[in-house]
C-alpha cells in the first residue's frame, strides 16, 4: 500500500506544480499579454480567480499521500513547520514553505474584502516566493525530474514564469517612475 501512496504522491506533486504554474501565469498574463494570443484579459483573469480549485486538490492529494506513506515518514507537523524531517531537510522543508505560502495567499485572497488593498497585494506577492520554493522543492526532491521530458517541461514553465515576472516588474517600475 505504501508503494501506491508513494506513486500518488509523486504524480500529484507534478499535478500541483502544473496547477501552480497555471495560477501564477494567469496572474501575470493580464499585465504582460502573455496569454493574449489565447483569450481576453477578462477570461484569463477568471481562470486565475478560479485556479485555487485546481491547486488545492492537487496539493492536498500530494500531502495526504505522503502522510499516509509510512516509508516517507512525513508527520503532520512537517506539513506546517519546515526543516523537521529526518532526511532531505532542505528539499522537503522548501516544499513545506511553499505549501504554507500558497495557503496564506489563497486564504488572504478569500478574505480580501476584510483587508486593505496594499496588505492584500503584499500577501499576494508571496505567491512568487511560493512558486520559487516549490520549484526548488521539485528540483531537489522530485524523484521524477530525473526524466528529461519532465525536467525539460518543468524548467520551461519556470523560465516562462520567470521571464514574465521580470517583464511585469519592469512595467510596474516604469509606471512608478512615470508617476514620481
Amino acid at each position: 500500500m505504501d508503494l501506491f501512496f508513494w506513486e500518488v504522491a509523486r504524480a500529484s506533486g507534478l499535478a500541483a506544480y502544473v496547477a501552480l504554474c497555471i495560477a501564477v501565469l494567469t496572474g501575470l498574463a493580464p499585465r504582460t499579454q502573455a496569454l493574449g494570443f489565447l483569450a481576453t484579459n477578462r477570461a484569463v483573469r477568471a481562470l486565475h480567480d478560479w485556479s485555487p480549485w485546481i491547486v488545492l486538490p492537487a496539493a492536498i492529494t500530494h500531502i495526504v499521500a505522503l502522510v499516509l506513506d509510512a516509508t516517507a515518514r512525513i508527520s503532520l507537523v512537517d506539513l506546517v513547520v519546515p526543516f523537521q524531517t529526518s532526511y532531505g531537510q532542505l528539499a522537503i522543508g522548501l516544499g513545506t514553505i511553499s505549501l504554507d505560502l500558497v495557503v496564506i495567499v489563497i486564504v488572504t485572497t478569500w478574505l480580501r474584502r476584510a483587508l486593505s488593498n496594499s496588505w492584500w497585494q503584499w500577501m499576494h506577492r508571496l505567491s512568487y516566493v511560493g512558486f520559487v520554493t516549490m520549484f526548488l522543492h521539485a528540483i531537489l526532491s522530485g524523484t521524477d525530474l530525473a526524466s528529461p521530458v519532465i525536467a525539460g517541461l518543468s524548467w520551461a514553465a519556470a523560465i516562462a514564469i520567470g521571464y514574465y515576472s521580470l517583464e511585469r516588474a519592469g512595467r510596474s517600475l516604469a509606471v512608478a517612475k512615470a508617476r514620481a
Binding site: L3, W6, R10, L14, L90, G142, D144
Partner: protein, 74 residues
C-alpha cells in the same frame, strides 16, 4: 500592426480555459501515475545521500513483484 490599432486577443472563453486547466492537471496526474508505477526506485538528489545507510529511506522501495532471476551455467 499600425499605430492606434489594438492587438486582438484570442477567442477562447473563460469556461473553456477552466476546462482546459482541469484536463491538463488531470492529464499530468495520470501520466505521472503511469510514469511512477514503471519507475519505482529512482533516487532523488535530496535522498541520495540517505541511500548509503543501511536503513530504508523513502528513496529505497521494496516491491512484491516476482524477482527476475537468471542462472548462468558454465
Amino acid at each position: 500592426m499600425g499605430p492606434g490599432r489594438k492587438k486582438r486577443s484570442g477567442p477562447v472563453p473563460a469556461w473553456a480555459l477552466k476546462v482546459a486547466s482541469v484536463v491538463m492537471t488531470f492529464s499530468v496526474f495520470g501520466s505521472g501515475l503511469g510514469y511512477a508505477s514503471t519507475h519505482l526506485s529512482t533516487t532523488s538528489a535530496a535522498t541520495s545521500t540517505a541511500t548509503s545507510t543501511t536503513t530504508l529511506t523513502s528513496a529505497v522501495r521494496t516491491t512484491t513483484r516476482t524477482a527476475v532471476t537468471k542462472t548462468a551455467s558454465s
